[in-house]
């Protein structure tokens, strides 16, 4: 589904991605692990065309590196950024509406369904999204992306800054999404969640992939964990 070969990316002069290789099969949930600052978010951004990528990124066989981000999104990629860019002056409902790419086609989810699934959001449906709490914002961002009916969704650090209870909720939500048949690339730090949902994990270190395997295999690799994940 998504095939990344020899991906490089730069911020000005600093070389952040250094030949990332990765692939995601249809329906798969992949967790991308790694310490802070190794370039996981940058990988996500490079896929979405927000950071100029060098190398090859193929989505369902088509080269997407270098395309403007709306084209990439229209091909069926969804992105939930780390910065949770909700549109603060608009209501929750309007935010969700903006996630829809094509008003004429109904996707897997409708706005009402979304609100049903997340009573927290439903309560605030007609409030400006800017006043939501951090957790509510995170949910909103994810729901909004789902409205666009993506085939593959990239979620960057969904649980950051969330209350423990909500973290569990978000985890469940992601599992739910996966069940609907959407492939997921999950950028996470909380191992507990990542390992629970993922079909496979990639570990990133200094701009390249240093390990890949199933959660079960990974559980046995304390060395990797020590070297690349723990601080």
């Amino acid at each position: 589904m998504l095939q990344i070969t020899d991906l490089h990316a730069y911020y000005g002069k600093s070389h952040v991605l250094n030949g990332v290789e990765m692939q995601i099969m249809p329906g798969e949930v992949i967790a991308l692990l790694g310490r802070n600052g190794v370039g996981r978010s940058t990988t996500a951004k490079a896929i979405m065309g927000e950071v100029a990528p060098q190398g090859s990124i193929r989505f369902r066989g088509q080269e997407i590196a270098g395309l403007p981000n709306h084209k990439i999104a229209r091909m069926g990629l969804g992105y939930v950024p780390e910065s949770r860019d909700i549109f603060p002056t608009m209501t929750v409902r309007q935010n969700l509406m903006l996630g829809i790419k094509n008003m004429r086609k109904t996707g897997r989810w409708s706005i009402d369904q979304m609100l049903e699934m997340f009573p927290n959001l439903a309560r605030r449906a007609d409030n400006p999204a800017g006043v939501l709490s951090g957790g509510e914002k995170q949910m909103l961002t994810m729901c909004r992306t789902l409205m666009g009916d993506p085939e593959l969704i990239i979620i960057d650090e969904p649980t950051e800054g969330l209350a423990p209870l909500i973290v569990t909720q978000v985890g469940e939500m992601i599992a739910e999404i996966a069940k609907a048949g959407v492939s997921i690339l999950l950028v996470e730090q909380k191992l507990s969640i990542a390992l629970k949902i993922a079909d496979r994990v990639y570990v990133m270190g200094h701009g390249e992939i240093v390990y890949s395997g199933t959660p079960a295999e990974f559980a046995t690799r304390d060395d990797i964990r020590k070297e690349w994940l723990e601080v």
Binding site: M48, N69, D85, F87, M90, Q94, T145
Partner: protein, 310 residues
């Protein structure tokens, strides 16, 4: 009575013209956050283009073609100018349009000269519609009324087709995010700017022969358009309409008042032959809009009907 009727009639027409001129600015501002200083220059461009087109063909073709051309110019400006500056924030955008106004003014002078061109009301509409208290009322003014009404309705529709508006607003602050959701942000910006400019162009087509088409018309209209937009509440179409009417009526009725300040404030001991006392209401007409602007911004910074602060 007579004075009142005239003041009303003229005020409404002037107000409608102001509204036509400011609606495009309102559109651009509310959707893109760009305070387009060159807006009045697009208005001028519309008038001049209409003049040239009309020479070759007819007014009716100009009425359609000139705004379209101005809109295209606007899109080019957005594509190759504003878009570049956008990343540097609103002040840079504002300054860009500020400089653009200079440029358009000069280019107009090159092509059409420094003096007024003879852009006239089309024959078809050039007749007195009725006579009122001994003064004729030109049919063209009623035409203005209709065009303005049409514009109001059309814009209303556009703005209330909310999704397009929403996307643009969101793209204003989070262009990347909106792009990631699959919307073609640059195209939308370009179109909005184009439409806004085309509206200014339309106002130019209509206003250019109602007033005079000369290279100074942009400079003269520029500030007042801002007053309308700000007083009405930035981004509020209804507000712009109300403000345009208010200012139109205020200015025209002030002119028809013969009283001086001494006549009004005489009871406070203001003598008729003091400098302040001698000032007539009529002579204050041009500054009234700005007085209104400052007062409104102080008392109610979001304008008459704006939803957010300027």
């Amino acid at each position: 009575m007579e004075t009142l009727v005239f003041a009303l009639l003229n005020g409404v027409i002037y107000g409608l013209l102001l509204f036509m001129l400011s609606s495009g600015l309102t559109l651009i501002f509310s959707m893109m956050g760009v305070l387009n200083f060159a807006h009045a220059s697009f208005y001028m461009l519309g008038a001049y283009l209409a003049f040239t087109i009309m020479e070759g063909t007819s007014f009716w073709i100009a009425l359609f073609l000139a705004p379209v051309l101005v809109g295209l110019v606007g899109m080019v400006v957005e594509r190759y100018g504003l878009r570049r500056v956008h990343a540097q924030g609103h002040v840079a955008e504002l300054l860009f349009t500020f400089g653009l106004a200079y440029l358009i003014d000069e280019v107009v002078k090159i092509f059409w000269g420094r003096t007024a061109v003879n852009y006239r009301v089309p024959e078809l509409l050039d007749f007195p519609l009725f006579t009122l208290y001994g003064a004729q009322y030109p049919a063209y003014r009623i035409f203005i009324l209709f065009v303005a009404a049409f514009m109001l309705v059309a814009l209303w529709y556009l703005l209330k087709r909310t999704r397009a508006g929403l996307i643009i607003q969101a793209a204003l602050t989070h262009p990347h995010m909106v792009g990631s959701l699959g919307h073609n942000v640059p195209l939308i910006f370009m179109s909005v700017f184009g439409v806004g400019c085309a509206l200014a162009g339309l106002a130019g087509v209509i206003g250019g022969n109602y007033f005079v088409t000369d290279p100074a018309m942009a400079v003269q209209m520029g500030p007042i358009v801002f007053v309308v937009v700000v007083v009405g509440g930035l981004g509020s179409l209804e507000g712009a309409f109300v403000a345009a009417m208010l200012i139109g009526l205020l200015q025209t009725s002030a002119i028809s008042i013969n009283a001086s300040l001494a006549d009004i404030f005489g009871f406070l001991g203001l003598g008729p032959h003091t400098e302040v006392g001698e000032i007539t209401i009529a002579s204050m007409a041009p500054m009234l809009p700005f007085l209104l602007l400052v007062l409104i911004l102080m008392i109610r910074p979001r304008g008459l009907m704006g939803e957010r602060e300027v």
